[in-house]
């Protein structure tokens, strides 16, 4: 009964907020209200099946529809998806295994440049024959390749440095990321591999292989309108895969080994856990996620240059993980979403609002201050200019009031249930929860 009431309430809220977005397509508030519906679904006391179907309906049907009204919202959704994927990958390294990696963006760059070089005419600079850019279908091959490339570079970096601990590891990873950035910045001579600071463009996008199908159905295809939707669904699929893999790793001997290493390395070794191998695995898995997302990023942006892979990006993703709650999958998702929306929408929205106030030319009469000419508010007050400061403040407040993050890892409800047969496809300890 309670289940039904809350379900009805959630459906009502989703519909209402979607209508708001429909009628006020430019309103940031309306879209924020819509985005909040996902958070409500997560927290509402309804059954898992209801949560899953509502979340699926919102993400697969409602959000793309909203995206056709205001294309910018799809762009935001894609950006959020990219950062969520990055945060989930870093959460494995920092959150699960407790290895402070300050150079995570390097793996993102490796994936992005992998596709950028071969998915554009750039590779012709050092491979003769004019084979490049590769055809669009290769995008998917490179998506898979990048997973291997990321895992390999992650493991290669890990091999020499994983014997270091804490601060030392952090410094080495930071240095590694700077080396990668310096390399892509300078490898335009003697052989032009990366085109240096000028960046690479145009990069091929994934193929519209369903175009004939749509045309057959009588739908007019406008690639410009279709690509955002297309990327949105690719991000969604990639994200689903990442969440699935992360969850399965978490609920397994590997996930337990990571947490044990984070908790007490000496005890973990004494229990027979091959610590170096497990750390390498964490590094490799995290790196492979970032690298795959990098391929997607390059294809979406069509243009990349070293500026996209600075140290601040690594710190940003790390902050998302810390904000959300280290070692928690829902936390990483929420942290990345909140920070991205804060940057892309809230602060920009506030700046626009301030601008509008300025241009309105209103003169307010306030007690104590006297009259205030709104048109004289200096442009330095725009919140978008304080992005990092506001962000830093939020982090400081979080560390004071909620040091374990917004959604810290929950104690697992894992009572052993002897009635579950040992050989069925179910864990007797009730792991394998649904996706949220």
């Amino acid at each position: 009964m309670k289940n039904r009431i809350f379900t009805a309430g959630l459906v009502g809220y989703i519909l209402l907020s979607s209508l708001l977005v429909y009628y006020f397509p430019q309103s940031v508030l309306a879209f924020l209200a819509f985005e909040a519906s996902l958070l409500l679904i997560y927290y509402a006391p309804v059954s898992r099946a209801v949560k899953l179907s509502l979340a699926a309906a919102t993400l697969v049907v409602v959000l793309p529809l909203i995206g056709t009204i205001n294309g910018y919202y799809l762009e935001i959704a894609i950006q959020v998806g990219i950062f969520v994927a990055l945060a989930l990958g870093l959460n494995i390294v920092v959150g699960f295994a407790g290895l402070l990696n300050l150079g995570y963006v390097a793996f993102y760059a490796i994936g992005a440049y992998l596709w950028a070089i071969f998915g554009s005419s750039q590779a012709n600079e050092f491979i003769s024959g004019g084979y490049f850019p590769l055809s669009q279908a290769w995008f998917f091959v490179f998506l898979l390749l990048s997973i291997a490339a990321g895992a390999l570079t992650g493991a290669l970096l890990g091999l020499p440095v994983l014997r270091l601990r804490g601060d030392y590891l952090a410094i080495v990873t930071l240095g590694f990321a700077e080396v990668v950035r310096a390399l892509v910045n300078n490898l335009d001579k003697p052989i032009n591999l990366t085109n240096g600071p000028r960046g690479i463009t145009p990069i091929e996008r994934p193929p519209l292989f369903f175009q004939p199908l749509l045309e057959g159905l009588g739908v007019a295809v406008d690639p410009a309108a279709l690509y955002p939707l297309y990327f949105y669904f690719i991000v969604l699929l990639l994200l689903l895969a990442i969440i699935l893999v992360t969850r399965r790793l978490e609920d397994s001997p590997v996930g337990r080994a990571w947490k044990a290493i984070r908790g007490d390395e000496i005890a973990a070794v004494a229990m027979g856990i091959p610590v170096v191998r497990m750390k390498l695995l964490a590094f490799a898995v995290g790196a492979s996620f970032a690298s795959a997302v990098g391929v997607l990023f390059a294809a979406k942006q069509v243009f990349i240059n070293p500026e996209s892979f600075t140290f601040m990006e690594s710190i940003g993703v790390l902050a998302m993980v810390i904000l959300g709650g280290m070692g928690s999958i829902p936390g990483a998702i929420l942290g990345a979403t909140a920070v991205t929306i804060l940057n892309l929408q809230l602060l920009k929205g506030l700046s626009l609002w301030l601008n509008a106030l300025r241009q309105s030319g209103l003169v307010l009469t306030l007690p104590l201050i006297g009259s205030l000419d709104l048109s004289r508010i200096p442009s330095q007050f725009e919140p978008a200019k304080y992005e990092r400061m506001i962000f830093g403040l939020i982090l400081i407040l979080m560390m004071i009031f909620r040091p374990r993050g917004i959604l810290p890892p929950q104690k697992r409800e894992r009572r052993f249930d002897p009635s579950t047969s040992l050989r069925t496809g179910k864990l007797t300890t009730g792991g394998d929860r649904g996706e949220n």
Binding site: R248, P253, G263, I266, A267, M271
Partner: protein, 259 residues
């Protein structure tokens, strides 16, 4: 053939000789105790045995195989597992998960099984959980599997450490002060548990202990360390009467002899 044979084990930290040519043999089915005053080198002996420290000299043979240069995790695989004097549980994991970590080496599922959730994954994981529950029941922690390890009372944490060590299926179990901080009845329970393990869950036990009631009550053989040297060895009764042991413990020096 002894299960464990240690010969001439020497470990130095700079100028300090922590272990000086220690010999020790543990037979199958034996509860052996290692005693000695604080700082005698007992825990160093454990750390060297389990590969955390590299010995400067000497030989450790387990089941007639040398453990020279074997890493700690491989030593656990080989069949030696330990508990810690200052409890080292994984506080942010549940009681059950702590025991499951101890089984890490024995579960035997690969990455493909984990990500693909194969039949083998479920079979092995469920088997592991079942065995973990049995071990928790054995040490008297049934019904507590969901609690966080850090929330357990001190004595329960010690028992959980034993269960976690047993999870790795050791043949030789090393217990570092298993009854420290326990009241007499809890210590009795631990003694009964240790005796129950022999021949069923482990082949032999080597324990470090300060509680003489425990040492004298359950051990078949007692070795005494003092300043890194083994000064006596024998049955509890022999050791109790040994002049050098009494001297080491009570600090009876030459003046006492003259008196």
């Amino acid at each position: 053939m002894a299960l464990l044979e240690v010969q001439g084990l020497t470990k130095k930290f700079g100028g300090l000789v922590a272990l000086q040519s220690v010999d020790l043999a543990i037979e199958d089915g034996m509860i052996a105790a290692l005693i000695g005053p604080n700082g005698a080198g007992k825990t160093t002996f454990f750390n060297t045995l389990t590969g955390h420290y590299r010995p400067d000299r000497g030989e450790i043979r387990f089941k007639n195989r040398s453990l020279r240069g074997v890493t700690p995790d491989r030593i656990t695989h080989a069949g030696i597992c330990r508990t810690f004097q200052n409890i080292r549980l994984f506080g942010e994991m549940s009681v059950l998960e702590n025991v499951l970590v101890g089984m890490h080496a024995r579960i035997g599922v690969g990455l493909a099984d984990i990500i693909g959730r194969s039949r083998r994954f479920y079979a092995r994981e469920n088997q592991a959980a079942k065995r973990a529950m049995e071990l928790l029941a054995l040490v008297g922690l049934e019904g507590r599997e969901e609690e966080w390890a850090s929330s357990l009372a001190y004595g329960d944490q010690r028992r959980l450490e034993v269960a976690r060590a047993l999870a790795s299926k050791p043949e030789l179990l090393l217990l570092d002060e298993p009854t420290a901080g326990m009241n007499p009845s809890e210590a009795e329970g631990m003694m009964a548990l240790i005796e129950k393990l022999i021949g069923v869950h482990v082949r032999s036990v080597l324990l470090i202990e300060h509680n003489m009631r425990v040492v004298m009550g359950i051990s078949h053989r007692v070795s005494v360390l003092d300043y890194g040297e083994k000064i006596a060895e024998g049955t509890p009764d022999e050791v109790r009467r040994d002049a050098r042991v009494i001297e080491a413990y009570l600090g009876l020096g030459k003046q006492a002899d003259h008196a």
